[in-house]
């Protein structure tokens, strides 16, 4: 023990004097290298997508790609219009957010404020389990549970329609429901953390002023947790718009206008479904769709981060 004590400070001073500067420099280089990996990844993905996504734009024309509704990549006169695909991603993600976010936030309120401990002890692990389920499992359940149910509804709704094309339940609505369930855990977990982080004094003040529990939750606690909840929504949008595996199984994958009972194709599933056998301009177009998706997510992130910053400033 005594020997150790006498050695260690000596060793420290030895490192400090001779190799200390070198070790510091080495450590700094290692840290910088690690940090630059992330930047390198983003930069190379961006570069690769731009390089492989632009040739088709010059061949086909940006206007044709973005504003034409005909997707016939293998026709004698190929058409590469992805307007319906873009609209499907916008509408599908929007509907999934409309459906999933209120349910998610109210579940978070329930867990943080309303539920007694025994109920929360059941709900909380269930939500965490939901977060860990791989997306392809959601897709499989969608095929075996959601699609048949949706097909019964479809046959009942369109029993007298002469023009409706029956999809067997693989339609926009099925995809939206699957997406809404998939974003739930993200929204619930982050919102709950935000609600729990609200200072108890805010709740106490509201209750002391005679506010009811419901008034306290909706007028005091939720506004105070706003920035955290916006983060939850941003991450939910990110998960919904980038999801491919689950919805490729339940959405039918035909290119159609995004109506609830039509078979539709999302930006992500458009890439996945035709990558296997595509060639030439067709394949380059799939990279262009990837580029569109990339730009799309960037724009949404920028807009939502701005909203998020504003949300953070007001309270």
């Amino acid at each position: 023990m005594k020997a150790e004590k006498s050695i260690l400070p000596g060793a420290g001073s030895l490192i400090g004097k001779k190799s200390g500067a070198a070790a510091e420099r080495a450590a700094q280089i290692v840290f910088t290298a690690c940090a630059s990996f992330a930047i390198l990844a983003v930069a190379s993905i961006t570069l690769y997508l731009v390089l492989s996504g632009t040739p088709a734009i010059f061949q086909v024309g940006l206007k044709e790609i973005l504003f034409s509704t005909v997707w016939a990549p293998t026709a004698a006169q190929p058409r590469y219009g992805i307007l319906y695909v873009i609209l499907t991603s916008v509408v599908g993600t929007g509907l999934a957010i409309l459906l999933g976010v209120p349910v998610g936030i109210l579940t978070a309120v329930f867990l943080a404020e309303v539920a007694d401990e025994r109920v929360a002890a059941v709900v909380k692990p269930a939500v965490e389990l939901l977060a860990g389920i791989p997306s392809v499992i959601y897709g499989l359940l969608g095929i075996y549970l959601l699609n048949p149910a949706m097909y019964r509804l479809e046959r009942w709704l369109f029993r007298d329609s002469a023009t409706h094309q029956f999809t067997g339940g693989a339609n926009l609505l099925s995809a939206v429901i699957v997406l809404a369930i998939m974003i739930l855990p993200t929204v619930i977990n982050i919102s709950e953390t935000a609600i729990r982080a609200v200072p108890p004094s805010i709740k106490a003040a509201s209750l002391a002023l005679g506010g009811s529990r419901i008034q306290t939750i909706f007028k005091s606690i939720l506004p105070a947790a706003k920035s955290g909840i916006v983060t939850a929504v941003v991450l939910g949008v990110g998960r919904a718009i980038g999801e491919a595996m689950a919805i490729t199984l339940v959405s039918g994958s035909s290119v159609n206008a995004p109506l609830p009972f039509r078979s539709v194709r999302f930006l992500t599933t458009a890439i996945v479904s035709e990558m296997g056998y595509s060639s030439g301009t067709h394949r380059q177009m799939l990279f262009t769709i990837g580029l569109v998706l990339f730009v799309f997510i960037m724009v949404i992130n920028l807009i939502l981060t701005r909203v998020l910053k504003k949300g953070g400033q007001t309270p």
């Binding site: 999809t167 693989a170 056998y277």
Partner: protein, 315 residues
């Protein structure tokens, strides 16, 4: 004493540094050991591949010794894009047996392929249809090397007993939307197909003459997905390669002819097409190399390759 203690200090410092660097590299070490695992695995795969190819090498030597001289030179095939999988697989198999021979293939379409063989710019013209009379008159000889067969399947509960060619066309172009119009019960038809770029889809549409006119309710990206969808959806109809049909679906007779390999060879089942390797004049009038190529393609090994890519063999 002073000197000795400095030496001990230096040693201790070195040990601490070494330990630190080891600890720091813990994850790195794991990663690199993972890499060595991968390399050793791929190495063993290579050696297995070598072992697998070794007997064929010996076989080729035996072949070569059986002939007067070993074959060398090159064969150029030009033609059908649908035959790309078959032609590439056959070329690879042949070149493994005869390393001195180069078999190259261009995929520009059946018509262009036969034109090339008639014009003398190619040894073999690949065609995924029967030769036309004028092509035969110009000297092209039709050598059928394999047959592509497609089954039309429905869910097992479907009561339709069969379809005519016109009914099939009407169903896939969206003119007929209920099984009551096609000899079945009053159930809406769910039209299932493959994604653009799929060989099965292009063959199906080409044989029926409905290229790019199909109104799909589901465009799925694999044979398995089509089978699963058709099996689980009442009223669904789909097409798959003949060799994968199983008990989960019912393959419909077309124009009263059951979908079997025998019927396709006999020529009664219309949803099939020959894969032709056309030559200028009979095979027996070709160069020894091309004659040997046809012996290989129509022999045991070539036909095994044809059936491995899902085609019906010719006897």
């Amino acid at each position: 004493m002073k000197k000795k203690s400095t030496t001990i200090l230096a040693l201790a410092g070195a040990v601490i540094l070494a330990a630190g660097s080891l600890a720091g590299c813990g994850s790195n070490a794991a990663a690199s050991s993972g890499q060595t695992d991968v390399t050793s695995e791929s190495a063993s795969q290579t050696s297995r591949a070598d072992a697998a190819s070794a007997p064929t090498d010996q076989a080729s030597q035996a072949d070569a010794s059986g002939q007067e001289e070993s074959l060398s030179g090159s064969i150029l095939m030009v033609g059908s894009t649908s035959m790309e999988t078959l032609a590439t697989a056959l070329a690879e198999g042949y070149m493994e047996l005869h390393p001195e021979v180069t078999v190259s293939a261009e995929f520009v379409g059946s018509g262009a392929g036969i034109e090339a063989v008639l014009g003398g710019t190619a040894d073999i013209g690949n065609s995924s249809r029967n030769l036309k009379e004028e092509e035969k008159a110009a000297g092209a000889v039709e050598n059928v090397v394999a047959i592509d067969g497609i089954a039309v399947c429905v869910d097992p509960a479907n009561t339709a007993s069969g379809l005519t060619k016109q009914q099939l066309i009407d169903i896939y172009t969206g003119k007929v939307t209920n099984w009551a119009q096609a000899g079945g019960a009053d159930v809406p038809i769910v039209v299932v197909g493959r994604e653009a770029g799929s060989g099965t889809r292009s063959a199906f549409e080409e044989i029926l003459g409905i290229e790019d006119q199909c109104a799909y309710a589901n465009e799925l990206d694999s044979t398995g997905a089509v089978m699963a969808k058709v099996a689980s959806t009442p009223g669904a109809i789909g097409y798959v390669s003949l060799d994968v049909v199983d008990d989960t679906v019912t393959a419909l007779p077309l124009d009263g002819v059951e979908a079997t390999a025998e019927n396709i060879k006999a020529g009664g089942y219309f949803l099939s097409r020959p894969f032709v390797m056309a030559t200028m004049g009979d095979v027996s009038s070709q160069s020894p190399l091309v004659q040997d190529w046809f012996a290989y393609v129509l022999g045991e090994e070539g036909q095994a390759i044809a059936s491995s890519v899902g085609l019906i063999t010719v006897e």
